[in-house]
């Protein structure tokens, strides 16, 4: 779209600031930290900030997944229901019927691999429909979103599954070296993702595909294979997010993950990932996740009226984005 506009005068700061796009949220986050400190002395304590980080881990993983998919120029709405469906099915295959299971009674240790496998399968099916049948990705994953959430509701009768296998509960509550396991896992995966997307052929391929898939193909990148891999990976990450969430909340709620995709897109796009593909970084996306978490935490600490919560929340987000626009001087898209 912007072939000619590349000639527009925005070019001036562009060169140096191209990489600042990823840092665009940093000033906004700093301002939020100051605001939070003014609002409440609790805010800047390690405990509170750690809480914020921990609460955002699951969203973080889903955003990680969506950011990968968006960078590769695709879209996946079904991640949201994978977050609920994958752990629900895995747990239901394990726990006895008395705990609302399906009565299959697989061994406990299978919980985590099973859940991740289910996530992978969903990604696989999405990939098949998109790449083999050449259906629109938005439409396929939308249908998938509705379908698998429906299957979850039908299969569990809307019941929460709360007899979690030990491994799942462990994941949700364990602390490793003083930090919650979920923080380690998410942090590590983001670190790996940032390195791979920044410095590995396989990661750069996503940018090439998202930026111009014909050119990527002509450069010898196996476009379909990479896209499929990313979709499967996305499913796995969403399933992992679901595991962490189940573990943290102590059950798989029938509505687990519901409406999450909206926040996911918000975080990714606020963080500079473009819906048109080929642009943005995982670091930016992570900043988006953290920003949303901080705003929410500050609003809670400030005890704003619940009636005005939404308005203030939206207002802060808008102001923060204008701030990041003005500090980096970069037009967004």
């Amino acid at each position: 779209m912007s072939e000619l506009s590349a000639q527009l005068p925005a070019a001036k700061p562009k060169l140096q600031l191209a990489r600042f796009r990823d840092l665009a949220l940093v000033p906004a986050i700093l301002v939020l930290l100051v605001v939070g400190f003014i609002v409440s002395p609790i805010f800047l304590t390690a405990g509170n900030l750690l809480d914020v980080v921990q609460q955002q881990t699951e969203l973080g993983l889903v955003v990680l997944a969506e950011a990968l998919i968006l960078i590769a120029g695709r879209i996946d709405l079904s991640l949201e229901s994978t977050v609920g469906f994958a752990p629900a099915l895995a747990v239901a295959l394990i726990v006895p019927a008395s705990s609302h299971g399906l009565g299959v009674g697989l061994p406990e240790w299978t919980a985590i691999p099973l859940c991740l496998l289910i996530g992978a399968l969903i990604g696989l099916v999405n990939g098949a429909l998109i790449l083999k049948l050449r259906l629109s990705g938005f439409v396929v994953t939308l249908g998938m979103l509705i379908t698998i959430r429906g299957v979850q509701l039908g299969a569990t009768g809307g019941q929460n599954l709360f007899d979690l296998p030990a491994s799942v509960s462990y994941l949700g509550s364990a602390t490793w070296l003083g930090l919650p396991a979920s923080v380690w896992i998410t942090g590590l995966l983001f670190a790996v993702g940032i390195v791979v997307l920044g410095f590995f052929r396989q990661g750069r391929a996503l940018y090439a595909i998202g930026g111009n898939s014909d050119a990527a193909r002509a450069a010898g990148i196996r476009v379909d294979r990479v896209v499929w891999t990313v979709l499967v990976l996305g499913g796995v990450l969403a399933a992992l997010a679901g595991l962490l969430m189940a573990g943290r909340l102590g059950s798989v709620a029938a509505a687990q993950g519901q409406n999450m995709i909206f926040t996911t897109f918000a975080a990714a796009v606020i963080g500079g990932v473009s819906l048109n593909g080929g642009k943005g970084t995982l670091f930016g996306a992570l900043c988006g996740v953290l920003m949303l978490g901080l705003v929410q935490n500050i609003l809670t600490l400030a005890h704003v009226s619940p009636f005005w919560y939404g308005a203030i929340n939206g207002g802060i987000i808008l102001v923060a984005l204008m701030l990041s626009r003005l500090t980096t001087g970069k037009a967004q898209d």
Partner: protein
């Protein structure tokens, strides 16, 4: 004295660290055809965007017929004063050809209500006038590069404006199409229309222009009548050095008995080309010429895996390539330049370095890791080797001038010391001196044993070839050994001459 049709004074324009125009001026006399030349990145297209109101200059003034130019917001007013074929495509791929031709004036003279049948008829007439064989109801996305360019030209000429800018209109056209364009231009000129014409084919300047302005490094160098100027003078003004043009290559002929490095047997893709056999020995440079419908581009794309042939096979160094697979072709040792740099060549948004090293990323580190240092070093050597004008390896490739983008694609093809090079229109939009650089680089590659296939209509590209095949309607119709004359080759390309059918 009449006012000039268009005048720009003291125009400066900066893009980030690049000063694209440095206080330049140009005066295009009413009724003349004025050439603008300069090396890649000299600032020609930037001036065009200023003269057409797409870009506001940092300083300086533009006037038309003595009147100051309208504000950039008033696009209608600009469009009444100047029509343009931009270097970058302004075709809207999601619309039909007919609608593209009459974009924003679909109602054909007043009113807002569109009559599609009438629009299609008018479009068909217009296309007929330029002998463009395209269905007006076709989606623009389905056109070939040449067809798109022709549509753009037909559109620009159909406005009825008195001043028309053509930014490298001929770079993607074959000979007959160029002839038709020039015929059309001269009849318009007789009607008093003024042209600003940009091209890297200097003989075209001498053929149709009366005056020429030369830019070099964002600055105005000279404006002079074309008559009395020699080609050497022009090149000297463009390059700033007095060395003459390159003489013919001095590679020694390739030994007959070498085993071919590229062997194409019975290759066929219905509707495009049939039963093509071809063998290229190491160090041999083979050209393929042919008109737009000859199937030469499709053949090249089939060899490199961009298309999947239905019949036959391609062998590189004796190994059969998996058909329709670019990775297989690259792994087999093919390097190539695709026809359309915007579509298949470059990823806008990524840096010059990254674009130049996309196919060789696996060589820039272990286990898929890419060492930024090595990438930078490789890219820097490409930039110096091919004299790519860029703010640095980290510049977004979208910010390069057209010719320099082409050089990046070329650099990439040469990057991996390929055993076979397939070059489709390799020098499109590249300036005279850079063209020599590129062809020298091809020569060097051939000298080190690479088999080269050049698919082009540019006689300059074909001249260094050991032999040139001419395709006609999907089959090889003629073969010329080095030493052909322009006339006989052009005749064969256009299907007059000794075509075998």
């Amino acid at each position: 004295m009449t006012q000039p049709a268009a005048q720009a004074r003291d125009i400066s324009k900066r893009f980030g660290r690049t000063l694209a125009l440095d206080g330049v001026g140009i005066t295009v006399a009413e009724g003349s055809t004025h050439a603008l030349v300069g090396r890649n990145g000299a600032g020609k297209s930037t001036l065009v965007s200023v003269l057409t109101g797409l870009n506001r200059p940092d300083s300086g003034q533009v006037s038309f017929g003595g009147e100051p130019a309208p504000p950039v917001e008033d696009r209608e007013a600009w469009r009444r004063r100047v029509a343009c074929v931009y270097q970058k495509s302004t075709i809207i791929p999601t619309l039909t050809v007919a609608e593209n031709l009459f974009i924003n004036r679909q109602a054909l003279g007043g009113g807002s209500l569109i009559s599609w049948p009438r629009l299609r008829r008018r479009a068909a007439e217009l296309l007929d006038e330029y002998a463009v064989a395209v269905d007006p109801a076709a989606m623009a996305a389905d056109l070939t590069v040449e067809q798109r360019q022709l549509v753009e030209i037909a559109r620009a000429l159909s406005f009825g404006t008195r001043f028309i800018i053509l930014d490298e209109p001929t770079a993607q056209l074959d000979g007959p199409a160029i002839e038709r364009l020039f015929a059309r231009m001269s009849s318009l000129r007789e009607g008093g229309v003024t042209f600003l014409f940009i091209s890297h084919h200097l003989q075209e300047i001498f053929e149709i222009c009366q005056e020429v302005t030369v830019f070099r490094d964002a600055r105005h160098i000279l404006t002079s009548p074309v008559r009395g100027l020699s080609k050497e003078d022009l090149v000297e003004a463009m390059t700033g050095e007095a060395s003459g043009l390159r003489t013919e290559g001095n590679r020694s002929p390739v030994a007959e008995n070498l085993t071919p490095v590229l062997k194409v047997s019975g290759l066929g893709l219905p509707g495009q080309f049939q039963e093509v056999d071809l063998a290229i020995r190491p160090g041999e440079v083979v050209g393929i010429a042919g008109s737009a419908s000859s199937g030469k581009v499709a053949l090249g794309e089939a060899i490199v895996g961009l298309r999947k042939p239905v019949h036959g096979e391609v062998q590189v160094s004796g190994r059969r390539l998996r058909p329709g697979s670019v990775p297989a072709a690259l792994a087999g040792g093919i390097g190539f330049v695709p026809q359309d740099r915007h579509k298949e060549g470059l990823v806008a948004g990524l840096s010059v370095a990254e674009n130049a090293t996309l196919p060789i990323a696996h060589k820039l580190g272990r286990f898929g890791a890419i060492s930024p240092g090595r990438r930078r070093a490789v890219a820097e050597s490409m930039i110096t080797d091919l004299a790519i004008k860029t703010a640095g390896p980290e510049q977004d490739v979208a910010g390069l001038s057209g010719g320099n983008q082409q050089k990046v694609v070329m650099a990439r093809a040469l990057a991996d010391q390929p055993s076979v090079l397939v070059l489709i229109d390799p020098t499109a939009g590249v300036d005279v001196r850079s063209k020599e650089n590129l062809l020298d680089a091809v020569d060097r590659a051939a000298g080190s044993g690479t088999g080269v296939l050049v698919i082009s209509d540019e006689l300059d590209d074909l001249r260094p070839c050991d032999r040139v095949l001419v395709m006609w309607h999907g089959a090889v119709a003629a073969e010329f050994a080095a030493g052909w004359t322009d006339g006989e080759l052009v005749g064969a390309i256009e299907g007059i001459g000794e075509s075998s059918e």
